[in-house]
């Protein structure tokens, strides 16, 4: 229940202004004519709703179409991944990381592997790093394609969704070739990657990049610059800079508000430092081009344009990848030195943080997962009131939430 800040009876009598709207009953009570009573409507958006991108529930209080209060309720997909992490061996936990942000499983693998490697202090072979970067960026494209498509779907444009899936299908086929899985890859391992690429795979990735750049122009024309789309998203769900920082938003959410921050560039990990030195990619920022800085359109713009930056990164890696080992020599049953490490990487949705604590044994003491969607979702409570019901959908869509990650 959202507690109403108005007493219903007071609100009722306040709104009845004309005489004859009430009458005195034989019992002496005053009865208000019910057909002039107005009250806020509480409505559950979810857990089963087409626009919540999973099983999430938002309790919305509305006055007509106007939202006066919103309260997200989570936990429908809670699997206690963190508890599992304390009960299985280090490497056994890796497949569970696929399951939180299932649209960017490669990035999740990467985050967890890097956190464990921070404790291990192991040197990762260069080819493995290259493959990791390629896979992570390909997966970022796939994830942003979903964000692109489903956002169109939320706003009633069905077709871009299937266009996005066309390219995503290709991306998944590429991953299937390299690791046999289409969604939950577990390909990036602690110490490197699972195996080397099949023959011709890198050429195929290059072909994908060529085609994708062409198709990307279609996305921009078809949806992002569509007049109705701009009208639906510009000036909606504005997150000012202070609010974005206060709520700990990361990733495209914070860049949409114009804050120039990308973990890949600003806390360089893996090969991204080299990439930045080579000028291989730029950080895309929202600029308020179609409305206010930090509105839904800006966030969408950041995601769409980031795909091209990812293509640039992949191209750079394809140009400089060399043969070599793909995984460091590690024992089968891993014993991780005692200590604790927090590693945050740039997931498609923001900072994916893994806080791992080891006591030197085969099993972790604590695996804490900081899911970007979880933090990004918290801002809904602040920006939803005052918008229309249709905007609620636009706002939820612009946070690009994956429920598997908020609930873990």
């Amino acid at each position: 229940m959202i507690e109403s800040n108005q007493d219903p009876a007071a609100a009722m009598s306040e709104r009845i202004t004309f005489p004859g709207a009430s009458r005195t009953l034989p019992t002496g009570e005053r009865e208000f004519m019910m057909d002039v009573r107005t009250a806020d409507l509480e409505i559950n958006m979810g857990p089963q709703h087409p626009a919540t991108h999973g099983v999430m529930r938002i309790l919305i209080r509305t006055d007509g179409e106007l939202i006066t209060g919103a309260q997200p309720h989570l936990g429908y997909l809670h699997r206690c991944a963190e508890k599992i992490g304390e009960n299985v061996e280090w490497l056994q936990y890796l497949p569970y990381t696929d399951r939180y942000d299932y649209l960017a499983a490669m990035n999740n693998n990467l985050g967890y592997s890097m956190a464990v490697e921070a404790l291990l202090g192991e040197e990762i072979p260069r080819r493995a790093q290259m493959l990791r970067t390629i896979c992570a960026e390909l997966n970022r494209i796939g994830s942003h394609l979903i964000a692109f498509g489903t956002y169109g779907l939320d706003l009633g444009a069905f077709t871009p969704f299937l266009y996005a899936f066309r390219e995503r299908e290709w991306m998944m086929a590429l991953f299937e070739k390299i690791c046999g899985a289409r969604l939950t890859y577990s390909y990036l391992r602690i110490g490197g990657v699972f195996n080397d690429t099949p023959p011709g795979w890198l050429q195929e990735v290059e072909h994908f990049c060529d085609v994708f750049e062409e198709k990307h122009k279609e996305y921009v024309d078809l949806l992002m610059m569509n007049h109705i789309f701009v009208k639906r998203t510009a000036d909606i769900g504005v997150i000012p800079v202070e609010m974005a920082l206060d709520f700990g938003l990361t990733g495209p959410m914070i860049r949409g508000s114009g804050i120039d921050f990308d973990l890949r560039r600003d806390t360089p990990y893996m090969l991204y430092g080299e990439l930045i030195d080579a000028g291989a990619f730029d950080v895309v920022l929202g600029s308020g081009a179609k409305g206010t800085l930090g509105d839904c359109w800006d966030r969408f713009y950041v995601r769409v344009m980031e795909m091209i930056e990812s293509i640039k990164i992949i191209r750079w890696c394809l140009g400089s990848i060399e043969p070599g080992p793909v995984i460091a020599a590690l024992p089968k049953v891993l014993k991780v030195p005692a200590g604790e490490a927090y590693v945050g990487i740039e997931n498609p949705r923001g900072e994916l943080g893994h806080f791992v604590v080891s006591d030197g044994g085969k099993v972790a003491r604590r695996v804490r997962v900081r899911g970007p969607s979880f933090c990004n979702l918290a801002v809904l409570e602040a920006i939803m009131p005052g918008t229309l019901l249709a905007d609620a959908v636009a706002i939820v869509g612009s946070t690009d939430v994956v429920i598997g990650e908020t609930d873990r």
């Binding site: 700990g248 990361t250 600003d266 030195p337 005692a338 200590g339 927090y342 943080g353 003491r365 604590r366």
Partner: protein
């Protein structure tokens, strides 16, 4: 700024509640039992002063930790007397990180809420509270977030016993 610089700056501005620092070190070759410590450096902060400490980190122009990235707790061991509460700060302008740790006693664990400094702490603290049974004093919305409202026990504690039944549904 590197860790040493941050610590120095924290001492300069007199950040309240700063107890000590802990940095990774190599194993002592003399002592066979000492395996050293890997990973990140962190600062240990007095739990009661955590709000002031966070505010100092955020408001200082040189530190400028404008983002609370993560807040979580750890139950190191069932035999241990204390929970760790870990804060991860990040500065988007200075591009550095800081890990903060506060130790609270398991018995009646409580710590002041950080929501007044970072609203991002709100949901993290709710999660921590339900998973560990830590009270965040002054939290504006202290409901469960991931678990059902009537859930018994705190699952991420090491001494947690998995329930055999929930609302008549057998879990065995």
């Amino acid at each position: 700024m590197e860790f040493e610089g941050i610590i120095q700056r924290l001492r300069e501005i007199g950040a309240p509640g700063l107890v000590s620092t802990d940095e990774p070190r190599a194993a002592d070759p003399e002592d066979k039992k000492d395996k050293g410590r890997a990973g990140d450096a962190f600062v240990l902060v007095e739990p009661s002063a955590i709000v002031g400490f966070l505010a100092a980190c955020r408001d200082d122009a040189e530190l400028a930790f404008d983002l609370l990235v993560d807040l979580s707790a750890t139950d190191p061991d069932a035999a241990d007397e204390q929970f760790w509460i870990d804060y991860q700060l990040l500065s988007t302008t200075r591009r550095h990180r800081l890990a903060i740790k506060a130790l609270v006693a398991k018995e009646g664990a409580e710590i002041p809420t950080a929501t007044a400094v970072y609203r991002a702490a709100g949901w993290h603290e709710r999660e921590c509270a339900e998973m560990f049974g830590i009270t965040f004093v002054g939290h504006p919305d202290p409901r469960n977030i991931l678990l059902p409202d009537d859930w018994v026990g705190h699952p991420l504690r090491k001494d947690y016993e998995f329930p055999t039944e929930y609302h008549g549904i057998s879990c065995e």
